[in-house]
Amino acid sequence: MPVASRETDIYRRDAKVDHNLLTPAERERLIKPYLPNPPTRSPSKRGRKDGIPKIRIGQPKSSRLGVRKFLKNQLHALVYAVVHAIFSVYIRFRQAYHAVKDRILAILYYHHRTPELIQKDVKGLSRLPEHLSVILKLEDGGKGGAGLEALVDEVAEIAAWCACVGIPMLSVYEQSEGILKGYLPATHRAIARKLSSYFGPQHPALSLRAPHVPSMESPSSPPTSDSLGASSKTLSILLLSSEDGRDSLVDLTKTLAEMAQRSKLSSKDISPDLIDAELSESVMGEPELLILFSPSVELSGYPPWQVRLTEIYHVQDNQGVGYQVFLRALYNFADAQMRFGR
């Protein structure tokens, strides 16, 4: 649209009467000075129809035009370089600023592995998600073991925070081919250990599962825990990987196609409700809040069907899992302001 105010005014007056004021020709004349040059189609690329002969007519002058074009390109390349030079300086500053800010927040809000402190942090929040989801990334630190260990520890930490806050359902997405799913018992042990380091002997019950894998349950620590309301809750954790995204939809399609071939189902029966019911049965339902610990938003294969209305939270330029990110996500979810200090 023309930036020029006079033309904009005319356009708006025209629009007001449903574009009956101007004739198409008048309108084209109005925007003509603002139109870019039509593309010069090289015959090899789109060699068909009109357009080409018209361009050929202009060829005698092409040498001067070529020089001008060349100079223009050089100028643009220069501006491009300048813009990017400025931008990389700017982004370094931004990253540094965010790093300092995150560091300060991390010091101000530290959980000290004390459930009471965490509970105090979220006390004022008007609402909490019933189902929280996080995307984690396996940092490949050369040796395979170290990365996996760090990942399991992150899962355990986040699980402990959820248990403290009182979020009953946590799903953890890790893209690579279900590396966590292969270590279900070990992960379960690590989380249970982490929970008891937060809660002491009376930690909440824990259920860990992955789609198509039977869940691992553990009772809320020694059955002696009888009357403690807060710690008798169950935390269920679901481990997801890339195969629970598109592939689950593909698998569902295969099943439906097979059923249709055996005339057990008519294609008219396929509705969003049917698919939704199947997917929430076999994978998971819709999470309410999705936390990313990456510097920018990229879903890296997260189940597409379920992410429909999920609130997506990330901290710009953030690197790695941190309690302050988790807390800020909850504050953001509850539409609350974070005040510095407790």
Binding site: A4, E28, V79, Y80, R246, T253, S296, E298, Y302, P304
Partner: protein, 349 residues
């Protein structure tokens, strides 16, 4: 209106010819510069914030949508000039039918008028190779609007240099469901074995009759099938007999469902044939996808949430996003070449 009056002086300054010219030159320069680097091939916008803009400026909601349309035109101009091939916009969600009838009707009327107006400029659209596609549930659109839609789509369907996908009335779940449904329909069509000009029964008969003619003992027998229990031709006849009823019973043959892959479903999506989504921008600070492009954006699409309201969205808020995208692209390339894996990201021109 007060904020609009306050900015009157500012506006007057900007609209004076030399400044206007300078600003335009600067815009052109920056857009030209963007072209020099990698440019996203496919960008999607969630045009959110028209209503909030109208409320905060105390104007009618419909007027907010009109300004939103102007913003769209501005953004399309930038996208075109910087070399973006495909722009997908979320114009109307199926959920939006739940809004007040007055607003829905106004939006529909607006869509109709703008599309009709667009159809008057077929020559111009053709010159730029611009194509318009409308993605969504057609059966939810009123016939008069649908007519305008069809005309605009029909008029530009042969152009392919730059495509504007208007998602209208659209939700991604409906889109995925429709894709699954049509995949299932494809796979439940029996493979056409009848198309071949040879008939299996005729061949069977031929073989049988040849066998009979070559065996001298049987040549005189009037009913060959009834005497199959005798001597040397026994083996051949029984196999033929065992085969023929089997063929009849097997029924139609279906393609193997195991051959369905994610690209099979992708071909049935409304965006089939478009390059992968590189960038998704949502304005007005809401950090949700709201049922838009779920399948297309959940892999390595860069998703950007901006606080600007859509009618305020212009080059100055769009440019940083583009530059940051380019900057990231360069980093990915550097990393890729360091690891020896060349992640072949699209480079334009």
């Amino acid at each position: 209106m007060s904020s609009m009056h306050l900015s009157q002086l500012h506006k007057w300054m900007l609209s004076s010819p030399p400044i206007e010219w300078a600003v335009n030159q600067l815009r052109e320069l920056l857009i030209g510069a963007i072209r020099q680097g990698p440019v996203p091939q496919h960008i999607a916008f969630v045009m959110d914030g028209n209503r909030r803009f109208a409320r905060s400026h105390k104007i009618e909601t419909v007027e907010g949508h009109n300004l939103g349309f102007e913003a769209l035109a501005r953004i399309l101009e930038i996208c075109y000039k910087s070399g973006v091939k495909i722009v997908t916009v979320y114009a109307f969600s199926i959920e939006n039918f739940k809004r007040s009838k007055y607003e829905v009707d106004a939006l529909m009327a607006m869509a109709k008028i703008k599309l009709q107006q667009l159809s008057q400029h077929g020559e111009l659209l053709h010159k730029y190779g611009a194509s318009i596609r409308v993605l969504g549930q057609r059966d939810l659109v009123k016939p008069d609007v649908l007519e305008a839609v069809d005309r605009a789509v029909e008029l530009t369907k042969n152009n392919g240099d730059c495509i504007l996908n208007i998602c209208f009335p659209y939700t991604s779940r409906e889109e995925i469901t429709t894709a699954i449904k049509s995949t299932v329909e494809d796979y439940s069509k029996p493979l056409s074995t009848q198309a071949r000009p040879f008939s299996q029964t005729r061949i069977t008969q031929k073989i049988r009759s040849r066998n009979l003619s070559t065996s001298p003992l049987r040549s005189t027998s009037p009913t060959p099938s009834s005497t199959s229990d005798v001597d040397d031709s026994i083996s051949s006849t029984t196999t033929l007999h065992a085969d023929s009823p089997n063929d009849g019973q097997e029924g139609p043959l279906y393609p193997d469902p195991e051959t369905i892959t994610s690209s099979t479903i992708e071909e049935h999506l409304l965006t089939a044939g478009n390059p992968p989504l590189d960038l998704l921008i949502r304005t007005s600070g809401v950090k949700r996808l709201s049922d838009f492009m779920l399948w297309q954006c959940h892999e390595d699409t860069e998703i950007v949430f901006l606080d600007t309201l859509w009618p305020d969205f212009d080059l100055w808020s769009f440019l940083p996003v583009l530059v940051e995208w380019q900057w990231k692209q360069k980093h990915i390339e550097e990393k890729g070449s360091a690891n020896g894996i060349n992640k072949s990201k699209i480079k334009v021109r």
